[in-house]
């Protein structure tokens, strides 16, 4: 099975811990990685890339010491190696200008406000990872139990069931 990483970035350990816990049901299928800063996330992504694995999704907080979340997600979206990586902004403190920048420049796929609902976050994450797997042409059968069925069905209908 191809190793797909999911990175969560938050400078607050307890928040990071809670996000990872919400994503626990995906653990047998994806590698969940915590990072405490944007810099650590960049470093981690380089390592993952060198190992020949992929980064399917980055969930990032916005207000962190050092680099802001929106800037990190912008970098990811502008880096060809990670152009297909999905991005979620999870924040309680972004203002309107930040949010506009997140959409226009960082091209985020989803926006969550703190406090978030675990089930909603998990649902969105599944959907985005399903899209990622299908867009990258990764063998999706192995991920079946955690894929978003609606997303999969739409894809298969469009591309024929024998792809």
């Amino acid at each position: 099975m191809e190793t797909i990483n999911v990175i969560c970035v938050d400078d607050q350990k307890d928040v990071l811990d809670a996000v990872l816990r919400d994503l626990r049901p995906l653990e047998d299928f994806f590698r969940l990685e915590p990072a405490e800063s944007a810099a650590e996330c960049r470093e981690l992504m380089d390592e993952i890339d060198e190992r020949g694995e992929s980064v399917g999704l980055v969930i990032s907080d916005h207000v962190m010491p050092g680099e802001l979340g929106v800037s990190l997600l912008g970098w990811i979206s502008a880096t060809p190696r990670f152009s297909k990586t999905k991005k979620i902004l999870l924040t309680g403190q972004a203002n309107q200008a930040d949010t506009i920048r997140a959409i226009n420049e960082a091209h985020i796929d989803s926006y969550f406000e703190k406090p978030w609902k675990g089930e909603e976050l998990l649902g969105t994450v599944k959907k985005l990872l399903t899209a990622y797997i299908l867009e990258k042409g990764i063998a999706y059968e192995e991920f079946m139990p955690v894929l978003d069925q609606a997303e999969l069905l739409t894809f298969l209908t469009r591309n024929g069931f024998d792809t």
């Binding site: 811990d17 990872l20 626990r24 653990e27 590698r31 969940l32 650590e40 050092g66 203002n95």
Partner: protein, 462 residues
């Protein structure tokens, strides 16, 4: 306002010399005497030779905030000013205001019987005095304008103060409501914690061990190191990512791992949820404490003070603040010049408030040092007979000149973009607290050296 000697002034000076040098038409008034009352007949135009007068206008109408009969000052005149210009030249001969001698004065005057001098050159009396009328009216207009602007500025200031007070009250009310909710969360979490602890210890001793590991303070290891160890465990023991991470937290090094009992990994794999339970309760307790702290800050800013007075040593308050900030001080080298604990000056007040002052200042210093190589914070305590001075110095990039005037303002923050109520409260609260102790806070800042100084008066007769 008219500084250069102009044509206008030249003309006015001629009038003063020509019309107001008759010794028969000079009068002295003692201080407090009224030259003319408002509405009274006045057929004279006065020139003040010495002393000072004030012109007060009495209100007939009710303007809401001013009662009828209240007066306000229209103008002030010193030597060289004309008085009665309006009533004399409007030919109403009725005074617009009451003129009072503010000191002993001497005035010269002309009246309606005065006739024009050299009319063939300078025209009629009326024509000759046009410059005086214009000059006086312009001066009076200018004074009124200044008064108006002053009043507007005062109104703006008052409005801002009122707004701040309202915000403070709002915040205090909100803080009170939240405080109760947080209190419940904190207490109930403690109950759950106690019950869980007792029950596990009694019935599930080996799971209790895991629970306890989770509840204990975590070792200070970088996430990078943790990731390395965790990947190793994952690989060595075929663990899932999250169990491997827990194992790495319990045993971050080979030595720690050696100390673990036999079959521990197997046990952890099966029962890691107990570790998480302990960890969750720990996070909940910390979060409740944090929330309570934020609420307290807002209350203090809103003017609330639930002061509990006690006598405590400054040394202790500083060392308590430092122990609260251990996490922040990880990457900072700390120099302490606090003297001996037993010789520390003592203060009377709420120790928690003093700790809050130090925590805020030291945390700011830490935050300023994130990008600084050889980050250093020096904290020193200097005592004299009447006061103690605490200095907190860092070698960070310093406060930019453009921000220096605003650092104590309640909505000032560098810690995030945009406006927000929350993190920016730090220095505003510190200032408020220091002032409440009749102390002073000041700072000096340049790249590589920023010092915050807090001076606190000590009570006599220690």
């Amino acid at each position: 306002m008219f500084s250069s000697y102009t044509e206008l002034e030249k003309k006015i000076d001629r009038l003063k010399a020509v019309y107001f040098s008759n010794p028969d038409k000079r009068i002295r008034f003692e201080k407090g005497k009224i030259l003319v009352r408002q509405g009274e007949l006045n057929k004279r135009l006065y020139l003040i030779i010495s002393g000072e007068v004030a012109g007060n206008h009495f209100l007939h109408r009710d303007y809401g905030s001013h009662n009828p009969g209240a007066s306000f000052e229209m103008f002030r005149g010193q030597a060289g000013t004309f008085v009665g210009v309006q009533s004399f030249f409007s030919q109403l001969y009725q005074s617009f205001s009451e003129i009072v001698a503010e000191s002993d004065i001497e005035v010269a005057y002309i009246d309606t019987s005065t006739s024009a001098i050299e009319p063939e050159i300078y025209g009629s009396l009326f024509e000759q005095f046009v410059p005086v009328m214009l000059y006086e009216l312009a001066l009076r207009n200018y004074n009124l304008l200044e008064k108006q602007l002053e009043k507007e500025a005062a109104q703006t200031r008052m409005h801002r103060t009122e707004m701040n007070a309202t915000l403070g009250q709002l915040a205090a009310g909100l803080a009170h409501e939240l405080n109760n909710a947080i209190g419940v969360l904190d207490r109930k979490t403690n109950f759950i914690s106690d019950f869980t602890e007792d029950t596990l210890r009694r019935y599930l001793p080996s799971e209790y061990r895991l629970y306890h590991y989770g509840k204990e303070e975590q070792p200070v290891v970088s996430t990078k190191e943790l990731r390395r160890v965790s990947q190793k465990y994952e690989h060595d023991f075929g663990l899932s990512g999250s169990v491997a991470r827990i194992l790495a937290l319990i045993a971050p090094s080979a030595e720690e791992f050696e100390k673990l009992p036999e079959n521990f990994v197997k046990h952890l794999k099966k029962n890691y949820r107990f570790w998480e339970l302990g960890h969750d309760i720990r996070d909940m307790l910390i979060a409740a404490k944090h929330a309570a702290g934020v609420v307290k800050s807002v209350k203090i800013l809103g003017g609330y003070s639930g002061q509990r007075k006690s006598r405590f040593s400054l040394y202790d308050s500083l060392s308590q603040a430092l122990s609260l900030l251990q996490q922040n001080l990880r990457n900072v080298s700390l120099e302490l010049l606090l003297g001996k604990p037993e010789e520390s000056p003592r203060m009377v007040g709420d120790e928690a408030e003093l700790i809050q002052i130090w925590v805020n200042l030291i945390k700011n210093a830490c935050d300023a040092l994130t990008e600084t190589p050889n980050a250093t914070i020096r904290i020193s305590l200097h005592t004299s007979e009447k006061q103690a001075e605490v200095r907190i110095e860092d070698n960070g990039p310093g406060i930019p000149d453009s921000l220096k005037s605003r650092v104590f303002h309640p909505d000032f923050t560098t810690k995030k973009e945009g406006l927000s109520f929350g993190l920016g409260l730090g220095l505003a609260i510190v200032q408020r607290l220091v002032t409440a102790y009749e102390g002073e806070i000041s700072f000096e800042s340049a790249p590589g050296k920023t010092i915050f100084k807090v001076n606190l008066p000590l009570e006599n007769g220690e």
